[in-house]
């Protein structure tokens, strides 16, 4: 099997509240997969289901070709994660925490192997500090060390940039790219910030209220071939009358609000100057024009709602 994660018709209900609604998701091995959605969209619930922390109400979850319900132990050896926020035993040191985790995985690491890991995540010489003295950013780094400790085939990171300083965010981004390029590690990366996902992911899914809004290749989703163009004009009825008799009518989007001054199109980026030129030629005054790619449009709708 070439996929790392497969979710089929997964639904999670908490009494009457549907947190995840009939979600289908396939993450191929070697992908850096973005999981995007606003706060409360069902991202963390989905990630918890993938990690076996929550049982789905209906649907099937498989990792590396094996049903999670059948062989969770074996699957967990292949997966590292930070879910929600990295929580550790605050009365223990960072090193003691990692040793507990290593023991649970039945790993017998040498001190130098631990040191390499601390170096990798930027915790070198801080590992003997009690976790209760750590900032959120340091806990996030320790969380990353824990996720990578058993050299997993896949890591699941739930909003890992939270609490990191700008340099930390850059370091994390580099590390994810490096792990993916050098070790072929699959990464499932959740975020509520579009640009974060756009920058590092090759595939992505956007969810809201537990439902899939968009899914696919990031490049296709942010392609300039199909932009949402918003045109604000002085005399909208006149502008619409012109467009409806021109070839631009095929690019016209369904009217959302007829009282507004804006006309919506869907078109390629290089068509925009021609449209502006023709409207001007017919003395239709343009107040403003802006455009967004498909993904930005989806995300704007979500965050506005």
């Amino acid at each position: 099997m070439s996929f790392a994660i497969s979710l089929q018709n997964v639904t999670k209900k908490f009494n009457d509240f549907v947190a995840v609604d009939n979600l289908n998701l396939t993450v191929n091995r070697g992908d850096i997969y973005g999981f995007l959605g606003p706060n409360g969209s069902g991202k963390s619930t989905t990630l918890r289901m993938i990690m076996g922390l929550i049982s789905p109400t209906t649907g099937n979850i498989s990792l590396f070709g094996t049903a999670l319900s059948e062989n969770r132990s074996e699957i967990m050896r292949k997966v590292g994660c930070i879910i929600e926020k990295p929580d550790f035993y605050t009365y223990l040191t960072a090193h003691e925490n990692l040793k507990l985790f290593a023991r649970a995985h039945q790993l017998h690491y040498t001190e130098s192997q631990y040191q390499d890991l601390y170096q990798l995540v930027g915790l070198y010489k801080r590992e003997q500090g009690k976790v209760k003295t750590f900032s959120h950013g340091m806990k996030q780094r320790l969380g990353l060390a824990q996720a990578l400790l058993h050299n997993p085939e896949m890591i699941i990171l739930d909003e890992p940039n939270t609490g990191l300083d700008p340099q930390g965010i850059i370091d994390l981004r580099k590390l994810i790219m490096q792990l993916n390029a050098e070790r072929g590690m699959t990464v499932l990366f959740s975020s509520h910030i579009l640009t974060e996902v756009q920058e590092i992911c090759n595939h992505m899914i956007v969810i809201n209220k537990g439902k899939t809004i968009a899914q696919g290749n990031v490049q296709q989703l942010i392609s300039s071939e199909s932009l949402h163009v918003n045109l604000e004009v002085v005399d909208r009825p006149r502008a619409l009358a012109f467009i409806q008799q021109s070839p631009w009518v095929s690019k016209l989007q369904q009217e959302i609000n007829k009282t507004e001054q804006v006309i919506h199109f869907q078109m390629a980026k290089d068509e925009i100057p021609l449209l502006v030129q023709q409207l001007s030629a017919h003395n239709i005054d343009i107040l403003s024009i802006d455009y967004r790619n498909q993904l930005e449009e989806y995300f704007l709708k979500i965050t506005h709602s």
Binding site: R48, S73, I83, K85, D87, T90, Y91, A104, Q106
Partner: protein
């Protein structure tokens, strides 16, 4: 099996590293030392008052205020406090991890939920055992060193039994074993509640509330209560005292042990069943 031992080691390590674990040890040492000091200073006076009345019936000779009597008194006193000390650690075992979020740390390892609960339960029992061993050292060994060894004048509810000192060691052994079973029920109950509740304090308070309610039920001789009394674990928590009666009510002691053991098995089964299906939302 190796993976289970690894998880158990982790649980023991965490228990021993937690500051609250040492509260129980400190309390036992303090209470024992305090009562031993009090008996050292005032014990003879109190006992001479008691034996004055007995002198009318018996000829009391020898050292009555000895280590065995002090241990008997300490055990009766501490049986009220011990459940709280046990619940303080075991009542937090799952709920504490749920509240702090470290439960995710545990459940994303290859260890199954059943193994995790069993490891936590065994770790709780180990803590209980250490607590009892400490009580045994402080109450019996230290008391014997301070007050010497002698026959035990055991006062039960309506009888006075005198047991020769050379007939006591095995009785103490079994008494501590029954005390361990009793506290094992408390530990199991605390852990079960800890699986259901997602904060640290409620399971500990709930255990104490249950013990208080059951003890009150046990105190009243009402026909409706008599039906349930034999099945309440609190009824059997003091059955260790029966070992200091003559003759020893063996059947009653066996029944008490069976009831306590049944409670442990039932509570552990409930916690495993529930925890395996629990959604981790924190």
């Amino acid at each position: 099996m190796k993976s289970f031992i690894a998880i158990l080691n982790n649980e023991l390590y965490k228990t021993m590293k937690r500051p609250r674990t040492y509260i129980g040890f400190g309390v036992i040492i303090f209470i024992c030392a305090m009562l031993q000091a009090a008996f050292y200073h005032d014990g003879k006076e109190i006992l001479s008052f008691v034996t004055q009345q007995l002198d009318m019936v018996f000829n009391v000779q020898g050292n009555i205020l000895n280590g065995n009597l002090i241990c008997f008194i300490l055990l009766q006193t501490l049986i009220v406090q011990m459940p709280l000390l046990v619940a303080l650690v075991t009542g937090d075992s799952v709920s504490g991890e749920t509240a702090s979020g470290t439960i995710r740390f545990l459940l994303t390892t290859p260890a199954s939920r059943t193994k995790i609960i069993l490891a936590k339960w065994l770790s709780g029992l180990f803590y209980t055992l250490v607590l009892l061993i400490l009580l045994g050292i402080m109450a019996l060994v230290v008391s014997r060193l301070i007050f010497g060894v002698g026959d035990l004048m055991a006062v039960n509810s309506d009888t006075l039994t005198i047991i020769r000192s050379d007939d006591l060691t095995w009785r103490w052994g079994y008494a501590f074993l029954i005390a361990f079973l009793s506290l094992g029920v408390v530990a199991s109950l605390a852990q079960t509640l800890s699986c259901f509740i997602d904060n640290s304090i409620t399971p500990i308070v709930s255990v104490m509330a249950i013990i208080i309610i059951f003890t009150i039920i046990g105190m009243f001789d009402l026909p409706s209560f008599d039906l349930i009394k034999p099945f309440l674990f609190t009824t059997h928590m003091i059955s260790w005292k029966s070992l200091f009666e003559d003759p020893i009510p063996v059947k009653e002691i066996y029944f008490s042990c069976a009831v306590l053991l049944a409670h442990i098995i039932l509570l552990l089964s409930i916690s495993i069943y529930y925890f395996k299906r629990k959604d981790i939302l924190t």
